[in-house]
Each structure stands twice: as structure tokens, then as C-alpha cells.
């Protein structure tokens, strides 16, 4: 049962993520995609006459169950079968993050940055609230995220998804190198 507790190498996790694409299609012509659920939640809870949210969200309610499952999967993988050791990132990344005063990694997320009390600080506000806003705004503007474009779209050899995925990475690399250091130094 050790494999349930230990982290999985990329050559196990990657193919299993890829398998989700045909699995959803075979089960009922469903297309992998998570950012659509953010739109679903808007349509269900705060449609407020916005055209983007005027549709029958109940018809696509399968994806709300899907993300509910992701949450349970996170609970099983991150708590029930939690890896007792911290995520084994490269020593150079650890050294880099330490230069901003971060501790050695414990668990999957730096608790000193992502916690309820840091929400009130400028650093926490930028990392969680501004960051989350950009994720939600950008994915809808791009009509998809890492799963819909990056995994499904690229699996289906769709060139717009290649453009999207390349832009995800360009945006991420730029911010991680040139903006995040200023936020971490706050």
C-alpha cells in the first residue's frame, strides 16, 4: 500500500491524467475541462443578466459533480493518503525560495504564504485574491485552462489550444520570474 502514500513520479501521474480524456468521452461524450465550472457557478448563483451566464447550466451539471470529485480526490490524496514527506522540489528552487525568507517546504503549499490570517496582508491579497481573479478572468477569456486546452485540446491536436498552452506558460514564466519576487519580498 506504500504507493498510495508516496508521491507519484511523472511517468505514472501523466498517463493517468491523459486517460481521463477518453474516459469522459466514452462515458457520455463529455469533454475534460475545469474552468467551465467557474462559469457554471456564476450561471447558477450570480447570473445577474450577464449574457455569458444566460444558459441552462443544469444541462452541464455533470462537470460540477466532476469538480466535486476532484475535491474529494484532493482530500484522499492530500490527507487520507498524505505523503508524510514534503514535496521533493529541486534544491535550487528551495534555495531560491529561501532567499525570500520562505521555510523549507512542508506539505504541498507554503503555509506561511497561504493561510487565513495572511489574507489581510498585501502579500496574501495579491497571491490569493488577485491571483485567483486573474485565473478566473483569464481562463474564461481564453475559453479554457490547463485541462481543457492543455490536456484535451492538445490531445485532439487543436492548434488554438497549442497557442493557448504556449501563452499560459509565457504568462506564468514572466510573472514567476519578474513579478513574484517583488510580491514575495513584501
Amino acid at each position: 500500500m506504500d504507493f498510495l502514500y508516496s508521491p507519484w513520479p511523472w511517468y505514472i501521474a501523466g498517463p493517468l491524467i491523459g486517460i481521463t480524456v477518453p474516459l469522459l468521452l466514452l462515458m457520455g461524450n463529455k469533454q475534460l475541462g475545469v474552468s467551465s465550472t467557474l462559469r457554471q457557478i456564476c450561471a447558477a448563483c450570480i447570473p445577474s443578466n450577464v449574457q455569458l451566464f444566460q444558459y441552462d447550466w443544469k444541462k452541464d451539471s455533470w462537470n460540477l459533480l466532476f469538480v466535486g470529485g476532484i475535491l474529494i480526490g484532493g482530500f484522499l490524496g492530500g490527507i487520507v493518503f498524505a505523503n508524510p514527506d514534503a514535496v521533493a522540489i529541486s534544491p535550487s528552487t528551495i534555495a531560491y525560495l529561501k532567499s525570500f525568507g520562505l521555510n523549507d517546504p512542508r506539505g504541498l503549499m507554503p503555509a506561511e504564504l497561504f493561510n487565513w490570517s495572511s489574507l489581510a496582508s498585501l502579500k496574501g491579497f495579491l497571491l490569493m485574491i488577485a491571483g485567483g481573479f486573474l485565473v478566473g478572468f483569464g481562463t474564461r477569456y481564453a475559453r479554457g485552462c490547463t485541462s481543457g486546452h492543455g490536456i484535451l485540446g492538445l490531445s485532439a491536436l487543436q492548434w488554438p489550444s497549442l497557442l493557448a498552452t504556449a501563452s499560459f506558460f509565457i504568462g506564468g514564466i514572466l510573472f514567476s520570474h519578474y513579478v513574484l519576487p517583488y510580491i514575495l519580498s513584501l
Binding site: P9, W10, Y11, A13, G14, P15, I17, I19, T20, L23, L24, L25, M27, N29, K30, Q31, L38, C42, V50, L52, F66, V67, G69, I70, L71, G73, G74, G77, V87, S90, T93, L97, L108, M109, N115, M128, G131, G132, L134, V135, G138, R140, A142, R143, C145, T146, H149, S161, L163, A164, A166, S167, F168, I170, G171, F175, S176, H177, L180, I183
Partner: protein
Amino acid sequence: MKNIKYLVVGIFFGFVLTKGEAISWYRIQEMFHFESFHMFGIFMTAIPTGAICLLIIRKFNIRTFDHQPIEMPRKEYHHGIIPGSLIFGFGWALTGACPGPLYAQIGAGYTVTIVTLMAAILGTWTYGKIQTYLP
């Protein structure tokens, strides 16, 4: 509830994301600094796996479990792809999470991610509100 099977696939997907550490803020920073092959390895095996399965489905005209023809995914180009994707990339670097991992992080005990998720919902809502003014 015939849709309950999607909950099961979601559990599988969330578990794999978590065990593969794709929901880790540390892993995302490491990836953007090209300091490990891990995340790239995940993408470089997930995509060909999906592609080969789609190829097999198309080649043998495989149908869904309830015998419907399978509709191949199509992604159309539109003007939001590049600016939207860049904006998402900015957020990805800050939160260390794309939308899937947001849900998984909450489940994995990082409860404050609920706030990040609510901010993402607000971001999507704001996009809907100002959509007509954007290119």
C-alpha cells in the same frame, strides 16, 4: 443519478493530480524556473496518452458506453486566446494553481484556497460583465 459516474472520475482525477503533486505551488514555481523535469514530464506523457486514445477512438469508430457516436473535441480560434491565456498564466504563477488544482487544494486541507476559488469565480463573472468591451 446517472451522473454520479462523473463524481467517480473526478475523484480519480483529483487523486492523480494530488499524488502527482501537480497541485503544489512549489512544483509550479519549480516548473516556471525550469529546475525539474517533473511537471514537464506530466504534460509530455498526459498529452500523448490522450492523443493516442483519441486516435484509436477515431480509427475504430469506437462509440460511447451507451452506443452514441463520439464527438471529437474541437477548439476554435478567437481573439481571446492569447490575451486570456497570458492573464491566466499570470494568475497561475501567483496562486500555483490552475482551476482543477484549486478544487484539489481545498480538499487537501488548504482551506484558504476557498477564497482563491471565490476570487476566480468573481474573475469569470467580471469577464462576463465586460466581455463586449474586450477584443
